[in-house]
Amino acid sequence: MMINESLLLLRYEGIIVFMIFVLFVLNLTDFDKKPSRFLNVVNAMLFINFIAGFLPMPEGSAFQGFFRSSGIIALEKNVLNLGILLISLSGYNWVAKSRKAVEYYILLLSSLLGLFVMLSSGHILVLYLGLELSSLPMAALAALNTNSQKSSEAGVKYILSSAFSTGVTLFGISLLYGAVGDLSFQSISQHLQPNALSLMACIFMLSGFAFKVSVVPFHFWTADVYEGAPTSVSNFYAVISKGAGIFVLMTVLYSLFKNITEIWLYTISILAALSMTIGNLFALRQNNFKRFLAFSSIAQVGFVLVGITSASKVGIDSVIYFVIIYLLSNVVLFSVIEAISDKTGKEKISDLKGLYKTNPLFSIVMTIALFSLAGVPPTAGFFGKFFLLTSGMGAGSYILIGITAINLVLSLYNYLRIVKAFFIDKEEAEMPLVKGNWQTSLVLLACGCGILVLTFAGGLYHFIDTLNF
């Protein structure tokens, strides 16, 4: 293979690395002393990056299959690019205030780079490196707000527990190495035998990814970190890292563990049921909005796992489709709560009572997003969830399906609780009219339209289906 072609395969990563270098350079100059100018430049870069993602992309693998790329992977990267752009836009105010713009973006981008590497890894080693590269900056991001107690607590909780989970994962990997002897994906997928050693190895390994996408019982860090970390960082956790994690998990399960499908189906079914139920039950009693979102995201992951259990192409399509919608909805929620807490410092659900009276637009967009998460038509979330569960039911067990049905109701309750606070409850404390800057409005507009438009986007789903895995 020609070297330049392999470089072309690395295009996404290349752009990210380039941007990081640019940021370093800018850091040397005092360009970042005027935040607004700096941020506009960065957002412009991110936008270009997002657009560039749609340039035609060769498929194939480089470096003896350590690195591979395909249509699906390219699409996933595009999705993540979109997410990072939206997040950076919605975090505008906070970043501008906190005098850490450059660090923030460097960490953000390097974490994103790690995710990209994970996505297109063809070898466990690369996968591991990507994992670390993505999670270490995330810890730093969580602790970025150094003069807040909660932020540093979030940081330490994340770094320590991720270190632990990395240890467990690595242990699994080492055992896998012992069982298979070669850690490249295709050899594993060929030689993996369902014997005690490799099964144990697989579970240990799985737990690492489960930790990343915060599946019950590996989810405990989630709520605390979301609450403590700066909102836009939590947004990154909830949307980008989780989305990428889901993609990677899918890759691992579908390509790596091909031989032991029925076994991981069993495992994933258990985890799915647990995640949905526990997530919803915890979300039931949350008053802090970010914690609520954490648990709701856990429940959503449960639904995604149900979709994954289909173990078919349709499952992949549905999961990606859902993740896109999930991304849009969550970005909306986080950016609104960020704008509000940025202005008034309020993050509690009880503070949002009567929001419709004070901030009609925010509450309407949030309602759309919440309904989309709850899977209520005519929002796109309905379709996402419907397809997920449909594909899941193709292979899923009846018990799992029953639990899913119950959880649909539970989750509806959770989200309606918030909507009720907006529209029905009488506000306790007067909430001023929060005027989001144009970036936030742009994000909200984009996401809101996206959520509504994807309702009729049969084409997108079909397009995903045409891409090969």
């Binding site: 038509p377 005519p378 419907f386 049905a405 029905i424």
Partner: protein, 497 residues
């Protein structure tokens, strides 16, 4: 893209347009115009339908249009109407217009109110015209959440709790429906040419009995929740009682009918074998609902609760008719759906008008309304007479059709069920007449009622609209039967063979 699609677009467009104007008046008038256009459209479609049928078109569905929506999952935007769905749409048109008229003098958050109303009507229209199970489910779900908002925001009493209960129970119902239809989808893949959501294609596939059983029960119970089937009916009384007038009209007039239509079109039509085996379950439930609902109604002082429970009892007739699996009973069930829709909408409208004026719904605090509010009182009495099945109103024909249809089923079990159902007409008479005697007749107890004013033009219009509907069916049922007979035949044929 057939004329039917207009019926989805029109309310949707209305709901968007009415957000534009600044004044409440503008909003209201746009909503009114929109709903008038809807009812005109439905009328026009009915006219065309008749014309085409009389021209000798024997195809099961007319105005079919089939647009690919999500090709990968074989989801199409497949619309079409037969007589049954047509009368349902007519019902929807009537109730929507009446609901808009009744809520003419609503004060707060007018835009949102009518927005949700229009969203509901979109859902209802779409539901009735959809021939694709996914689409059906989509529109069914659309009709759930607006109800929550309507009750929660504009409601009264323990509205939060009741609205939440309603939303969650309906959601649970639709979850069951979801499981059922997805089951159908996959089963169709195994036992048919390919996976499909299409009702017409599915109606040609015969699934094995054990699969049918599961799906039949799931879908029937799921839709049964919507039609307030015992023991899943408790959302109905609470929801109705705390809902604003128009919302109650919608809930009882249309939303419950979604369930009945689903039971007929999805559960029974697509799962004939299971229906033959298992319909006895629902016959039992229905008979319980009819009698028990009627007795529970006897005890209600709150007029809205009374009507809500009586709706439970009356929708029991629908379920009974569907579960009896005879052609006459099916026809009766469809009739009963329409008739009950109009009648109960009228009832709630009358109660709402009284409530707006006297601010109480307790029958013993009212009295002498016929003297003070002759028009509204008369409307109430007419609704009452219709609900106790007086000839000349729609209630009589539908109930008699159901009774005759279920009596056609020989066998002690069916006989007993039918006799129980018939017995309810006596109890119905009791509670209706008590309500009339207490609230409408009698002398004015409360001096403040003496300066009440009678119905406004819009309320009059709504009442007359509904009464006309009721009387037309009651006096000329042959028109109605002629409309639905061939389509009922389709369903029964599939059951028989």
């Amino acid at each position: 893209m057939s004329i039917l699609t207009l019926l989805i677009i029109c309310p949707l467009l209305t709901s968007v347009l009415l957000l534009l104007p600044k004044s409440d008046k503008g909003t209201k008038s746009i909503a009114l115009i929109g709903s008038i256009i809807q009812i005109a459209l439905t009328g026009y479609i009915t006219f065309l339908y008749q014309a085409i049928r009389s021209a000798g078109d024997k195809s099961q569905m007319l105005f079919e249009s089939n647009i690919v929506w999500f090709s990968t999952l074989h989801i199409n935007f497949h619309t079409g109407v037969d007589g049954i769905s047509l009368v349902m749409m007519l019902l929807t048109g009537f109730v929507v217009l009446a609901g808009v008229l009744v809520s003419w003098n609503i004060k707060n958050q007018v835009k949102e109110f009518f927005f949700f109303i229009m969203l509901l009507s979109t859902g209802a229209f779409g539901f009735f015209m959809s021939l694709d199970l996914f689409m059906l489910f989509f529109f069914l779900e659309i009709a759930v959440v607006p109800k929550y908002m309507l009750i929660g925001i504009w409601g009264s009493g323990k509205k939060e709790n009741n609205a939440m209960k309603l939303a969650l129970m309906l959601m649970a119902g639709s979850a069951m429906v979801f499981l059922g239809i997805v089951g159908i989808y996959f089963a169709s893949g195994y036992f048919g040419p390919h996976n499909t959501w299409d009702i017409l294609e599915l109606s040609k596939i015969h699934l094995p009995a054990e699969i049918q059983r599961v799906i039949y029960v799931l879908t029937f119970v799921g839709f049964g929740v919507f039609t307030a089937m015992f023991p899943f009916h408790t959302w109905a009384p609470d929801g109705h009682s705390s809902a604003p007038t128009a919302a109650s009209m919608f809930l009882a007039g249309i939303s419950m009918k979604l369930g009945g239509y689903g039971c007929l079109r999805v559960a029974t039509y697509l799962m004939p074998t299971a229906a033959k085996e298992l319909s006895w379950i629902f016959i039992i439930l229905a008979s319980i609902a009819i009698v028990y609902g009627a007795f529970a109604t006897l005890m209600q002082k709150d007029l809205k609760y009374m009507n809500a429970y009586s709706s439970v009892s009356h929708c029991g007739f629908v379920v009974l008719g569907i579960a009896m699996l005879t052609k006459t009973a099916f026809a009766g069930a469809v009739m009963q759906m329409v008739s009950h829709g109009l009648m109960t909408a009228l009832f709630f409208a009358a109660i709402g008008m009284i409530y707006d004026r006297t601010h109480t719904r307790m029958s013993d605090q009212l009295g002498g309304m016929l003297k003070q509010l002759p028009f509204i009182g008369t409307a109430f009495i007419i609704a009452g007479l219709c609900s106790l099945g007086l000839p000349g109103f729609s209630g009589f024909v539908s109930e008699m059709t159901i009774f005759t249809g279920s009596w056609e089923k020989a066998g002690l079990f069916y006989r007993v069920a039918t006799i129980l159902a018939c017995a309810s007409i006596v109890i119905t008479a009791v509670y209706i007449l008590r309500a009339v005697g207490k609230a409408i007749w009698g002398t004015v107890t409360n001096k403040t009622y003496l300066m009440l004013t009678d119905a406004t033009w819009s309320e009059r219009a709504a009442t007359i609209l509904l009464v006309v509907g009721i009387v037309i069916i009651g006096v000329a049922p042959f028109l109605f039967i002629r409309l639905i007979e061939p389509d009922v035949q389709y369903i029964i044929n599939r059951i028989i063979l």
